[in-house]
Symmetry: D2
Subunit: 344 residues, 4 copies
Amino acid sequence: MSEKLCFASDYMEGAHPAIMRRLLETNLEHTAGYGLDEYSESAREKIRAACQVPEADIYFLVGGTQTNATVLGALLRPWQGVVAADTGHIAVHEAGAIEFGGHKVLTLPQKDGKLSAEAIARCVDTYRKDETRDHMVMPGTVYLSQPTEYGTLYSLAELEAISAVCRGAGMRLYVDGARLAYALATPENDVTLPDLARLCDAFYIGGTKCGALLGEAVVFPRPDVAPHFFTIVKQHGALLAKGRVAGIQFDTLFTDGLYDAIGKSAVEAADRIRAALDAKGYIQPFVAPTNQVFVALDPEKAEALSRRVEMGFWENLPDGRVVMRLATSWATTGKDVGALIEAL
Amino acid sequence: MSEKLCFASDYMEGAHPAIMRRLLETNLEHTAGYGLDEYSESAREKIRAACQVPEADIYFLVGGTQTNATVLGALLRPWQGVVAADTGHIAVHEAGAIEFGGHKVLTLPQKDGKLSAEAIARCVDTYRKDETRDHMVMPGTVYLSQPTEYGTLYSLAELEAISAVCRGAGMRLYVDGARLAYALATPENDVTLPDLARLCDAFYIGGTKCGALLGEAVVFPRPDVAPHFFTIVKQHGALLAKGRVAGIQFDTLFTDGLYDAIGKSAVEAADRIRAALDAKGYIQPFVAPTNQVFVALDPEKAEALSRRVEMGFWENLPDGRVVMRLATSWATTGKDVGALIEAL
Amino acid sequence: MSEKLCFASDYMEGAHPAIMRRLLETNLEHTAGYGLDEYSESAREKIRAACQVPEADIYFLVGGTQTNATVLGALLRPWQGVVAADTGHIAVHEAGAIEFGGHKVLTLPQKDGKLSAEAIARCVDTYRKDETRDHMVMPGTVYLSQPTEYGTLYSLAELEAISAVCRGAGMRLYVDGARLAYALATPENDVTLPDLARLCDAFYIGGTKCGALLGEAVVFPRPDVAPHFFTIVKQHGALLAKGRVAGIQFDTLFTDGLYDAIGKSAVEAADRIRAALDAKGYIQPFVAPTNQVFVALDPEKAEALSRRVEMGFWENLPDGRVVMRLATSWATTGKDVGALIEAL
Amino acid sequence: MSEKLCFASDYMEGAHPAIMRRLLETNLEHTAGYGLDEYSESAREKIRAACQVPEADIYFLVGGTQTNATVLGALLRPWQGVVAADTGHIAVHEAGAIEFGGHKVLTLPQKDGKLSAEAIARCVDTYRKDETRDHMVMPGTVYLSQPTEYGTLYSLAELEAISAVCRGAGMRLYVDGARLAYALATPENDVTLPDLARLCDAFYIGGTKCGALLGEAVVFPRPDVAPHFFTIVKQHGALLAKGRVAGIQFDTLFTDGLYDAIGKSAVEAADRIRAALDAKGYIQPFVAPTNQVFVALDPEKAEALSRRVEMGFWENLPDGRVVMRLATSWATTGKDVGALIEAL
């Protein structure tokens, strides 16, 4: 309930008002538990349509770390690990959830938060040529984030190249879409939901950071990729008794283009901020076109600005400056953006 | 959205209207993530007060299986297992979540869903006297449910005896309170929140089945029982980014006696049903005084009634009859109960 | 180096002299590591021949608990557990090794240490008919011991019935043969190595308790049951750098009928003891025809006998008597047996 | 049984003849199982004396990967990971055994296979200063190898500095001594067994690669570092039924200086090879003073030499040359070394 301008992250408020309204309207209805209700089923149908995969299996989980651990636990066999950028969320900020499930995260160096098809191919090739490979963890699945932790995007060409490497090597491709709404709404983005469905073995459409109270929609475009996934979800403690809480939210997000609209308004707000930063001569250290804006500040400036604006600390630069992150969301108003620009 | 009378379970609707109202009122406020917001802190303070343990550590998780796996993962050391009734939720209906975390569930026979202090003491004694005990899993924590899966209650005397056995043996005691509101509201109950805080090392106050959209409040009455629990919660995928979603709900449940009121109305409804069943000569196979009512029916009667009333199947009896379960909740109206009684 | 008569167990000495001789003869030879040496390969060929499955995959591990955990870790998928007698070694005396690997042991009641095909079929049927089965651990593999922990044997008819239930239900069958030499050598036994290979998906031929210093030979009669098993063995810490240590021993055990001879001499010794016990009026509480002899004694008698004979304590009977276990092995001499009979 | 000169590794033969002799002499004796025999106890006493820690807890396990997984499973708490060089054996060549046990390996860059105290301190400092550290795996134990995977050595000053960092940070220090005999025997080495006992929380004295058939001796210099370790060993499948097989070997290795002698003869042989390589103008890419010799060769030369000498492939250099490894052991004769030098 801070009075500062809030650009700290995209999960600092409740849910988009349309979601709250729908939760309220349906509140007294009796429905089946565990995601077997009609709202969850309706949401599944809408997501299948949006992804153009009528046969997709879809599950609603609660949060991102949980979703990553549950999906990767289903995709990986005991002798396999997951390939990720060394800045990938699963490699750094999930408290070892993948390892808790028994699997190694095989990290590769990244550029702007992204893995390249070449680096993945080299990793597979090195593994295959190593005489001691049977003593090593086999790369089994590739993990990407779209947008990445740095707010950057894979292009369609990049994603197609990575998918081709994975298929050629018998590996699975999994995309973490915690902030997928913002990727989809970015003007320069050319990766659509049907593309993800065509190129990945699994991906999730983020709800928590894209306007929902909570919830992530896991999509398996081709059935049988993850047998008994319902039981695996339960085993990971990821099954909501009142599954409708996620189902109603995704049903709303995929009605009348709300998911797109949420992404669009946030990216437009971020674009305004980026333009203002440019205009005022600030340095943006990463090319991040989505809802996250990164700016390098002198420590004094960072401190001064922090008194008026809630931002996220990102990292210290070698030259003494500090990189701060500003994030926008459905809750960011034009007035907020104006006030921020004025404060810069 | 069935038109049948709904007594299938206590998680078939959304949340108590007071909770929905509060979620709506606070929806646009900016708060910190991960349970560090002021609503979560306020809820913690109210729960500490209700439990009369000002120093308790309190965490809000999402669901029951997740909470059991996370708490037991924190309490158990690698060489230890958890003692539970063979009908305990963790032993049967959590898809092996405890074993996924690396620990054995050591089951003991139950009576009416309950473990006795004697059985636990015997289990410890058998372990200790066994020459091969170093080749066996050590009983490290005792798991109870209050109310049990059979809707029955531990009395204060029973709980004190169990707690004494645990402390004498250096074991921890953990109580699963998925439906705790109904236990607390049952007239014959003599176990209060301060009793649980005094006698247990950890317990949780159920939200999902007691009027919330989701959420369980874990209470560690004495700090340092579960070091780095926040990280363990994250590792189990149990940390809500919008932690306020659980915090606001528990803050509401512990304001103006709502948690008690929810329990009370459901138990009164169940009592009316029990009395009507008795009056009409039905057999109730278990002595279940909380919000769950069990009735033995001929298959034909069960089928006929199922056409008008949603109930849960419980088990088949050797004599061919079937035990059905009727559950009440905050959403059960007097009219529903009247219609049910008429339908019986 | 006790001077008592030693009938405590079948692993109280080193290895059969023929094995020691062969280890010594080959000691200075240079061979490949990790089981890729020619002795291990020769042992594999001899075991394939003995089992009449030329295409079997065979691996040499070190000990029984390790072998059970590694094989079951390879056979079970995340949503599955292993069905075992509640007296099964994996259920009681392996310190939770299966659960450490993430899987539940689903115990069934036993008779004389054995599971029945009926009980397994009922377990599967109950699981399948349970509406909540997706919240439960699926029975995925059945674990038997031949001979059992009680020294008893499955007949061929029993094993065929169990195998048929497993195949009908899509479950795997795994047999723990820690003491298999004694089963194979028992006159009343009608289950051969080719039968095991035909009826099981995996089994192991015990070395440690059957004359080797250490070592267990895992047999997968049909390839592809356990893909990447070599890596799983390494991951479980079960891969010997000097794999020849196991390979040479099994090569020796399967040369000139040594494995059979070791079993035969031990069972004959046990038969002499059983006959003497009968003749002297002692009670043998289980029908155990292999190398383990069980006798019920008054506590005074047990204590007196223990001063001269090393035996294993088995269990206390309700009537106050104590059941002791006497085990024979390749190291049991006729003189030892004579002295024991005299001491009885 | 190759006729080539064998310098492939230090585990290509059986055991040192003195060990074989002792195994044979004791073969028929009856002893207790599971490491409770008098030979294991005698070996423990000798190791305690050699380490000058009379109160040390000592356990005999079978192999290196198993030992690392078991010890680290005992030392790490659920929220902790193990810090290792990115070339550390646990990070690369143990098939994910640490992750199978639920823990992350936190890798740091190395120099000549070694971690520096500064790098470890920086890692701890970075973790502590990170605002999101509660979402991350905490560095809990540091893993070193002595000698390292590159055959290099930590000096006493380096080890003291690392130990000081660990103690200052509340972390444990664990040393993998798979090839410890060769470290101890290297002229320039100044780290003794008492130093290891003083500076580490756990370490192991390698047997498999230092003259034994198998076996690693885990030393906990201060009791209570790893409670219930026996049960953890059993749970990891690492407990030998015939524990004497390891006990007799370590008892022999620590009698009359055999462990030192084995190390000394191998290092002297390696020194002769290194001197000859220098004399003949070969490039040795690492400063490896122990029993492993590394030489950079043109591909043609490498292939030619490989026809006469079994070597290990180490890595390809960017300039097209290949690094080969030659390892010596107790089984390397002066004649072998002479023939190798001639073949160079």
